[in-house]
Protein backbone atom coordinates (compact mmCIF):
# COMPACT_ATOMS: atom_id res chain seq x y z
CA UNK A 1 0.00 0.00 0.00
CA UNK A 2 2.83 2.40 0.91
CA UNK A 3 4.48 1.54 -2.41
CA UNK A 4 1.31 2.78 -4.12
CA UNK A 5 1.50 6.07 -2.23
CA UNK A 6 -1.19 5.37 0.35
CA UNK A 7 -0.88 8.03 3.03
CA UNK A 8 -2.30 5.88 5.82
CA UNK A 9 0.16 3.10 4.99
CA UNK A 10 3.00 5.63 5.07
CA UNK A 11 1.88 6.85 8.44
CA UNK A 12 1.64 3.31 9.78
CA UNK A 13 5.17 2.55 8.59
CA UNK A 14 6.39 5.75 10.14
CA UNK A 15 4.76 5.03 13.49
CA UNK A 16 6.16 1.52 13.51
CA UNK A 17 9.77 2.52 12.98
CA UNK A 18 10.12 6.17 13.95
CA UNK A 19 11.31 5.53 17.49
CA UNK A 20 14.27 3.36 16.53
CA UNK A 21 15.29 5.64 13.68
CA UNK A 22 15.01 8.75 15.84
CA UNK A 23 16.98 7.06 18.60
CA UNK A 24 19.71 6.06 16.17
CA UNK A 25 19.94 9.61 14.84
CA UNK A 26 19.92 11.11 18.31
CA UNK A 27 22.68 8.79 19.55
CA UNK A 28 24.70 9.52 16.45
CA UNK A 29 24.50 13.31 16.49
CA UNK A 30 23.70 14.00 20.16
CA UNK A 31 21.41 16.90 19.30
CA UNK A 32 17.60 16.72 19.27
CA UNK A 33 16.99 19.33 16.57
CA UNK A 34 19.45 17.67 14.22
CA UNK A 35 18.12 14.21 15.10
CA UNK A 36 14.61 15.35 14.15
CA UNK A 37 15.86 16.69 10.87
CA UNK A 38 17.78 13.50 10.12
CA UNK A 39 14.81 11.29 11.05
CA UNK A 40 12.66 13.28 8.65
CA UNK A 41 15.31 13.02 5.96
CA UNK A 42 15.70 9.24 6.45
CA UNK A 43 11.95 8.65 6.13
CA UNK A 44 11.74 11.01 3.21
CA UNK A 45 14.36 8.97 1.40
CA UNK A 46 12.56 5.80 2.43
CA UNK A 47 9.28 6.98 0.93
CA UNK A 48 11.02 8.24 -2.19
CA UNK A 49 12.65 4.86 -2.71
CA UNK A 50 9.95 2.60 -1.34
CA UNK A 51 8.84 1.49 -4.77
CA UNK A 52 12.28 -0.05 -5.25
CA UNK A 53 12.11 -2.16 -2.07
CA UNK A 54 12.10 -5.78 -3.21
CA UNK A 55 12.05 -7.47 0.17
CA UNK A 56 15.52 -8.99 -0.24
CA UNK A 57 16.39 -7.85 3.28
CA UNK A 58 14.21 -7.13 6.28
CA UNK A 59 12.38 -3.85 5.94
CA UNK A 60 13.83 -2.49 9.19
CA UNK A 61 17.35 -3.38 8.02
CA UNK A 62 16.73 -1.54 4.77
CA UNK A 63 15.36 1.47 6.60
CA UNK A 64 18.28 1.51 9.05
CA UNK A 65 20.69 1.34 6.17
CA UNK A 66 19.09 4.44 4.73
CA UNK A 67 19.12 6.15 8.12
CA UNK A 68 22.78 5.32 8.82
CA UNK A 69 23.75 6.59 5.38
CA UNK A 70 21.82 9.82 5.93
CA UNK A 71 23.54 10.36 9.27
CA UNK A 72 27.03 9.48 8.00
CA UNK A 73 26.56 11.77 5.00
CA UNK A 74 25.59 14.61 7.31
CA UNK A 75 28.59 13.97 9.55
CA UNK A 76 30.85 13.86 6.51
CA UNK A 77 29.51 17.18 5.28
CA UNK A 78 30.01 18.60 8.73
CA UNK A 79 33.61 17.57 8.93
CA UNK A 80 33.98 19.10 5.44
CA UNK A 81 36.35 16.39 4.35
CA UNK A 82 35.76 13.36 2.21
CA UNK A 83 36.53 10.35 4.38
CA UNK A 84 35.93 6.68 3.86
CA UNK A 85 34.33 4.38 6.42
CA UNK A 86 37.80 3.11 7.29
CA UNK A 87 39.00 6.63 7.96
CA UNK A 88 35.97 7.27 10.10
CA UNK A 89 36.46 4.10 12.10
CA UNK A 90 40.25 4.01 12.22
CA UNK A 91 41.30 7.23 13.88
CA UNK A 92 44.96 8.05 13.75
CA UNK A 93 47.12 8.53 16.79
CA UNK A 94 46.52 12.27 16.85
CA UNK A 95 42.78 11.89 17.06
CA UNK A 96 43.14 9.35 19.82
CA UNK A 97 43.01 5.87 18.30
CA UNK A 98 42.77 2.86 20.58
CA UNK A 99 45.88 2.46 22.66
CA UNK A 100 47.09 -0.67 24.32
CA UNK A 101 47.18 0.52 27.92
CA UNK A 102 44.30 -1.77 28.56
CA UNK A 103 44.94 -3.50 31.82
CA UNK A 104 45.82 -0.87 34.39
CA UNK A 105 44.11 -1.76 37.66
CA UNK A 106 43.92 1.88 38.76
CA UNK A 107 41.92 2.70 35.64
CA UNK A 108 39.11 0.32 36.46
CA UNK A 109 35.66 1.77 35.86
CA UNK A 110 34.12 1.58 39.28
CA UNK A 111 30.50 0.54 39.68
CA UNK A 112 28.03 0.76 36.84
CA UNK A 113 28.51 3.38 34.15
CA UNK A 114 26.32 6.43 34.31
CA UNK A 115 24.11 6.87 31.21
CA UNK A 116 24.99 10.53 30.86
CA UNK A 117 28.72 9.81 30.98
CA UNK A 118 28.39 7.01 28.49
CA UNK A 119 26.41 9.17 26.05
CA UNK A 120 29.01 11.89 26.41
CA UNK A 121 31.72 9.38 25.55
CA UNK A 122 29.66 8.02 22.63
CA UNK A 123 29.42 11.57 21.30
CA UNK A 124 33.21 11.61 21.02
CA UNK A 125 33.48 8.37 19.04
CA UNK A 126 34.34 8.51 15.36
CA UNK A 127 31.13 8.11 13.29
CA UNK A 128 31.82 4.56 12.10
CA UNK A 129 32.54 3.24 15.61
CA UNK A 130 29.55 5.12 16.89
CA UNK A 131 27.19 3.62 14.33
CA UNK A 132 28.28 0.05 15.08
CA UNK A 133 28.17 0.58 18.84
CA UNK A 134 24.69 2.13 18.73
CA UNK A 135 23.35 -0.52 16.38
CA UNK A 136 24.80 -3.46 18.36
CA UNK A 137 25.00 -2.49 22.00
CA UNK A 138 22.15 0.02 22.17
CA UNK A 139 19.67 -1.20 19.58
CA UNK A 140 20.51 -4.90 19.78
CA UNK A 141 21.23 -5.67 16.13
CA UNK A 142 23.35 -8.72 15.33
CA UNK A 143 26.58 -8.48 13.36
CA UNK A 144 25.09 -9.99 10.20
CA UNK A 145 22.39 -7.30 10.24
CA UNK A 146 24.91 -4.55 10.94
CA UNK A 147 27.02 -5.83 8.06
CA UNK A 148 24.00 -5.31 5.78
CA UNK A 149 23.16 -1.94 7.25
CA UNK A 150 26.71 -0.63 7.08
CA UNK A 151 27.55 -2.42 3.85
CA UNK A 152 30.59 -4.12 5.36
CA UNK A 153 31.66 -7.64 6.32
CA UNK A 154 30.59 -9.34 9.55
CA UNK A 155 34.25 -9.43 10.61
CA UNK A 156 34.52 -5.72 10.05
CA UNK A 157 31.42 -5.09 12.16
CA UNK A 158 32.89 -7.18 15.01
CA UNK A 159 36.22 -5.48 14.83
CA UNK A 160 34.64 -2.00 14.80
CA UNK A 161 32.50 -2.87 17.79
CA UNK A 162 35.48 -4.11 19.79
CA UNK A 163 37.46 -0.99 18.94
CA UNK A 164 34.49 1.22 19.76
CA UNK A 165 34.18 -0.32 23.22
CA UNK A 166 37.91 0.08 23.84
CA UNK A 167 37.76 3.71 22.75
CA UNK A 168 34.76 4.28 25.00
CA UNK A 169 36.69 2.80 27.90
CA UNK A 170 39.51 5.23 27.27
CA UNK A 171 37.11 8.16 27.02
CA UNK A 172 35.38 7.15 30.24
CA UNK A 173 38.75 6.84 31.99
CA UNK A 174 39.72 10.26 30.72
CA UNK A 175 36.55 11.75 32.17
CA UNK A 176 37.24 9.97 35.47
CA UNK A 177 40.75 11.37 35.54
CA UNK A 178 39.45 14.87 34.70
CA UNK A 179 36.91 14.66 37.46
CA UNK A 180 39.53 13.47 39.97
CA UNK A 181 41.81 16.33 38.91
CA UNK A 182 39.01 18.87 39.37
CA UNK A 183 38.17 17.40 42.79
CA UNK A 184 41.79 17.68 43.86
CA UNK A 185 41.92 21.24 42.57
CA UNK A 186 38.72 22.16 44.39
CA UNK A 187 40.03 20.55 47.57
CA UNK A 188 43.30 22.47 47.17
CA UNK A 189 41.43 25.74 46.71
CA UNK A 190 39.26 25.05 49.74
CA UNK A 191 42.41 24.25 51.79
CA UNK A 192 44.08 27.48 50.60
CA UNK A 193 41.12 29.53 51.69
CA UNK A 194 41.22 28.10 55.22
Amino acid sequence: MAQAGNAAAFERLYRLHNRRVYSLCLRMVGNTAEAEDLTQEAFLQLFRKIATFRGESAFSTWLHRLAVNVVLMRLRKKSATESSLDEMTEPDEESGGPRRDFGMADLRLSGSIDRVNLQRAVDHLPPGYKAVFVLHDVQGYEHNEIAEIMDCSIGNSKSQLHKARMRLRELLHESLRDRAREDRKAAGNAGGED
Binding site: G5, N6, A7, A8, F10, E11, R12, Y14, R15, N18, R19, V21, Y22, S23, L26, R27, T32, E36, D37, T39, Q40, F43, L44, F47, R48, R100, F102, G103, M104, A105, L107, R108, L109, S112, I113, D114, R115, L118, Q119, V122, F133, V134, H136, D137, V138, Q139, G140, H143, S157, K158, S159, L161, H162, R165, M166, L168, R169, L172
Partner: protein, 223 residues
Protein backbone atom coordinates in the same frame (compact mmCIF):
# COMPACT_ATOMS: atom_id res chain seq x y z
CA UNK B 1 46.29 -25.38 29.95
CA UNK B 2 48.56 -22.79 28.37
CA UNK B 3 47.71 -19.17 28.94
CA UNK B 4 48.58 -16.16 26.80
CA UNK B 5 50.80 -13.34 28.00
CA UNK B 6 49.33 -9.91 28.67
CA UNK B 7 51.04 -8.45 25.60
CA UNK B 8 49.28 -10.99 23.38
CA UNK B 9 46.02 -10.69 25.18
CA UNK B 10 44.62 -7.83 23.12
CA UNK B 11 45.34 -9.66 19.89
CA UNK B 12 43.44 -12.70 21.02
CA UNK B 13 40.62 -11.13 22.94
CA UNK B 14 37.73 -9.75 20.98
CA UNK B 15 34.84 -8.45 23.08
CA UNK B 16 32.51 -8.69 20.10
CA UNK B 17 33.00 -12.46 19.97
CA UNK B 18 31.92 -13.15 23.52
CA UNK B 19 28.25 -13.87 24.09
CA UNK B 20 26.08 -10.97 25.24
CA UNK B 21 26.21 -12.07 28.86
CA UNK B 22 29.03 -14.55 28.95
CA UNK B 23 32.77 -14.93 29.19
CA UNK B 24 35.23 -14.95 26.27
CA UNK B 25 35.00 -18.02 24.07
CA UNK B 26 38.78 -18.50 23.69
CA UNK B 27 39.87 -20.95 26.40
CA UNK B 28 43.43 -19.64 26.60
CA UNK B 29 42.03 -16.15 27.10
CA UNK B 30 39.75 -17.44 29.83
CA UNK B 31 42.70 -19.11 31.56
CA UNK B 32 44.73 -15.91 31.35
CA UNK B 33 41.90 -13.89 32.82
CA UNK B 34 41.70 -16.17 35.85
CA UNK B 35 45.28 -15.27 36.77
CA UNK B 36 45.60 -11.67 35.58
CA UNK B 37 43.66 -9.02 37.55
CA UNK B 38 44.52 -6.15 35.19
CA UNK B 39 43.31 -7.95 32.08
CA UNK B 40 40.28 -9.12 34.03
CA UNK B 41 39.46 -5.54 34.91
CA UNK B 42 39.81 -4.63 31.23
CA UNK B 43 37.31 -7.30 30.21
CA UNK B 44 34.98 -6.31 33.04
CA UNK B 45 35.07 -2.69 31.90
CA UNK B 46 34.09 -3.65 28.37
CA UNK B 47 31.26 -5.74 29.82
CA UNK B 48 30.07 -2.73 31.82
CA UNK B 49 30.14 -0.57 28.71
CA UNK B 50 28.10 -3.12 26.83
CA UNK B 51 25.56 -3.32 29.68
CA UNK B 52 25.34 0.45 29.94
CA UNK B 53 24.79 0.63 26.17
CA UNK B 54 21.77 -1.65 26.48
CA UNK B 55 20.42 0.62 29.22
CA UNK B 56 20.69 3.63 26.93
CA UNK B 57 17.94 2.14 24.77
CA UNK B 58 15.56 2.19 27.73
CA UNK B 59 15.94 5.95 28.00
CA UNK B 60 15.23 6.62 24.32
CA UNK B 61 12.88 9.57 24.04
CA UNK B 62 9.71 9.50 21.97
CA UNK B 63 10.19 11.35 18.68
CA UNK B 64 8.12 14.56 18.63
CA UNK B 65 4.90 14.59 16.59
CA UNK B 66 6.10 17.51 14.50
CA UNK B 67 8.48 15.21 12.59
CA UNK B 68 5.52 13.42 11.02
CA UNK B 69 3.73 16.66 10.20
CA UNK B 70 6.79 18.09 8.50
CA UNK B 71 7.44 14.82 6.71
CA UNK B 72 3.86 14.56 5.55
CA UNK B 73 3.89 18.11 4.26
CA UNK B 74 7.04 17.37 2.28
CA UNK B 75 5.61 14.14 0.89
CA UNK B 76 2.48 15.98 -0.19
CA UNK B 77 4.55 18.70 -1.78
CA UNK B 78 6.49 16.12 -3.75
CA UNK B 79 3.27 14.34 -4.68
CA UNK B 80 4.49 11.10 -3.15
CA UNK B 81 1.31 10.38 -1.19
CA UNK B 82 -2.34 10.49 -2.02
CA UNK B 83 -4.28 12.81 0.24
CA UNK B 84 -5.76 10.96 3.20
CA UNK B 85 -6.58 12.65 6.51
CA UNK B 86 -3.80 12.26 9.05
CA UNK B 87 -6.39 11.34 11.67
CA UNK B 88 -7.03 8.04 9.92
CA UNK B 89 -5.35 5.81 12.52
CA UNK B 90 -6.85 7.88 15.32
CA UNK B 91 -10.31 7.63 13.77
CA UNK B 92 -10.24 3.90 14.13
CA UNK B 93 -9.52 3.97 17.87
CA UNK B 94 -12.09 6.75 18.26
CA UNK B 95 -14.65 4.74 16.40
CA UNK B 96 -13.83 1.76 18.61
CA UNK B 97 -14.15 3.88 21.74
CA UNK B 98 -17.48 5.33 20.75
CA UNK B 99 -18.89 2.08 19.45
CA UNK B 100 -17.72 0.22 22.57
CA UNK B 101 -17.88 2.06 25.88
CA UNK B 102 -20.42 4.67 24.75
CA UNK B 103 -22.48 2.56 22.37
CA UNK B 104 -25.48 2.82 24.71
CA UNK B 105 -25.67 6.60 24.22
CA UNK B 106 -28.12 8.15 21.73
CA UNK B 107 -26.73 9.34 18.39
CA UNK B 108 -26.64 13.11 19.19
CA UNK B 109 -24.50 12.55 22.28
CA UNK B 110 -22.30 10.12 20.43
CA UNK B 111 -21.88 12.64 17.63
CA UNK B 112 -21.07 15.36 20.18
CA UNK B 113 -18.50 13.20 21.88
CA UNK B 114 -17.02 12.14 18.58
CA UNK B 115 -16.75 15.72 17.41
CA UNK B 116 -15.19 16.79 20.67
CA UNK B 117 -12.64 14.04 20.31
CA UNK B 118 -11.93 15.08 16.72
CA UNK B 119 -11.39 18.61 17.94
CA UNK B 120 -9.11 17.24 20.60
CA UNK B 121 -7.05 15.52 17.93
CA UNK B 122 -7.01 18.62 15.78
CA UNK B 123 -5.71 20.68 18.69
CA UNK B 124 -3.69 18.04 20.45
CA UNK B 125 -1.65 17.08 17.43
CA UNK B 126 -0.95 20.55 16.22
CA UNK B 127 2.25 21.92 17.66
CA UNK B 128 5.05 24.14 16.47
CA UNK B 129 6.00 22.77 13.11
CA UNK B 130 9.39 23.26 11.57
CA UNK B 131 10.05 25.62 8.75
CA UNK B 132 9.34 23.08 6.06
CA UNK B 133 5.61 23.54 6.68
CA UNK B 134 3.76 26.53 5.37
CA UNK B 135 2.81 27.99 8.76
CA UNK B 136 0.07 30.27 7.46
CA UNK B 137 -1.55 27.44 5.56
CA UNK B 138 -1.47 25.37 8.73
CA UNK B 139 -3.07 28.13 10.82
CA UNK B 140 -5.78 28.73 8.23
CA UNK B 141 -6.40 25.00 8.04
CA UNK B 142 -6.70 24.69 11.82
CA UNK B 143 -9.22 27.49 12.06
CA UNK B 144 -11.31 26.43 9.10
CA UNK B 145 -11.47 22.84 10.35
CA UNK B 146 -12.31 23.63 13.98
CA UNK B 147 -15.03 26.23 13.41
CA UNK B 148 -17.48 23.95 11.59
CA UNK B 149 -16.72 21.16 14.05
CA UNK B 150 -17.49 23.46 16.94
CA UNK B 151 -20.81 24.46 15.32
CA UNK B 152 -21.70 20.81 14.76
CA UNK B 153 -20.91 20.02 18.38
CA UNK B 154 -23.32 22.74 19.44
CA UNK B 155 -26.15 21.42 17.27
CA UNK B 156 -25.50 17.88 18.54
CA UNK B 157 -25.82 19.23 22.06
CA UNK B 158 -29.14 20.91 21.24
CA UNK B 159 -30.45 17.67 19.82
CA UNK B 160 -29.38 15.88 23.01
CA UNK B 161 -31.19 18.43 25.20
CA UNK B 162 -34.40 17.98 23.25
CA UNK B 163 -34.36 14.25 23.90
CA UNK B 164 -34.01 14.61 27.68
CA UNK B 165 -37.10 14.49 29.96
CA UNK B 166 -38.54 17.80 31.23
CA UNK B 167 -38.31 16.91 34.94
CA UNK B 168 -34.89 17.38 36.47
CA UNK B 169 -33.42 15.47 39.38
CA UNK B 170 -30.93 17.26 41.66
CA UNK B 171 -28.14 15.33 39.96
CA UNK B 172 -29.11 16.35 36.42
CA UNK B 173 -29.58 19.94 37.62
CA UNK B 174 -26.05 19.88 38.95
CA UNK B 175 -24.79 18.39 35.68
CA UNK B 176 -26.52 21.18 33.76
CA UNK B 177 -24.89 23.73 36.01
CA UNK B 178 -21.50 22.10 35.39
CA UNK B 179 -22.21 22.14 31.69
CA UNK B 180 -22.74 25.89 31.83
CA UNK B 181 -19.43 26.32 33.66
CA UNK B 182 -17.65 24.19 31.07
CA UNK B 183 -19.30 26.18 28.25
CA UNK B 184 -18.01 29.41 29.74
CA UNK B 185 -14.60 27.84 30.09
CA UNK B 186 -14.73 26.69 26.46
CA UNK B 187 -15.53 30.19 25.19
CA UNK B 188 -12.66 31.60 27.22
CA UNK B 189 -10.31 29.00 25.76
CA UNK B 190 -11.65 29.57 22.23
CA UNK B 191 -10.93 33.26 22.59
CA UNK B 192 -7.40 32.55 23.75
CA UNK B 193 -6.79 30.20 20.83
CA UNK B 194 -8.26 32.73 18.39
CA UNK B 195 -5.99 35.45 19.76
CA UNK B 196 -2.91 33.29 19.74
CA UNK B 197 -3.38 30.18 17.57
CA UNK B 198 0.19 29.05 18.21
CA UNK B 199 -0.21 28.98 21.98
CA UNK B 200 0.10 25.31 22.80
CA UNK B 201 -1.18 25.75 26.33
CA UNK B 202 -4.37 27.45 25.13
CA UNK B 203 -4.99 24.64 22.68
CA UNK B 204 -4.35 22.11 25.43
CA UNK B 205 -6.90 23.81 27.71
CA UNK B 206 -9.48 23.97 24.93
CA UNK B 207 -8.88 20.31 24.21
CA UNK B 208 -9.47 19.46 27.88
CA UNK B 209 -12.58 21.66 28.00
CA UNK B 210 -14.12 19.82 25.06
CA UNK B 211 -13.28 16.53 26.69
CA UNK B 212 -15.02 17.66 29.88
CA UNK B 213 -18.05 18.69 27.89
CA UNK B 214 -18.20 15.35 26.13
CA UNK B 215 -17.99 13.59 29.51
CA UNK B 216 -20.77 15.73 30.95
CA UNK B 217 -23.00 15.12 27.94
CA UNK B 218 -22.46 11.40 28.36
CA UNK B 219 -23.26 11.58 32.09
CA UNK B 220 -26.39 13.66 31.46
CA UNK B 221 -27.59 11.11 28.99
CA UNK B 222 -27.10 8.33 31.53
CA UNK B 223 -29.61 10.02 33.86
Amino acid sequence: MTTVACRDFLDRFDSSDSPRNGSPADLSVQAHLRHCPSCRSFVEDLGKIRAAGAQLAASDPEPPARIWFALRAELEKEGLIRDTPSEVPSKSWLAELFSGKFSVLPRPVLAGGYLAALLAIAFGLSGPINSRINRQRWLDGTQSSTEPLSAQLMSAEKASFSSWPASETPVTASLHQNLEIVDNYISLCENSVREDPENELAREYLYEAYQQKADLLAQLNDR
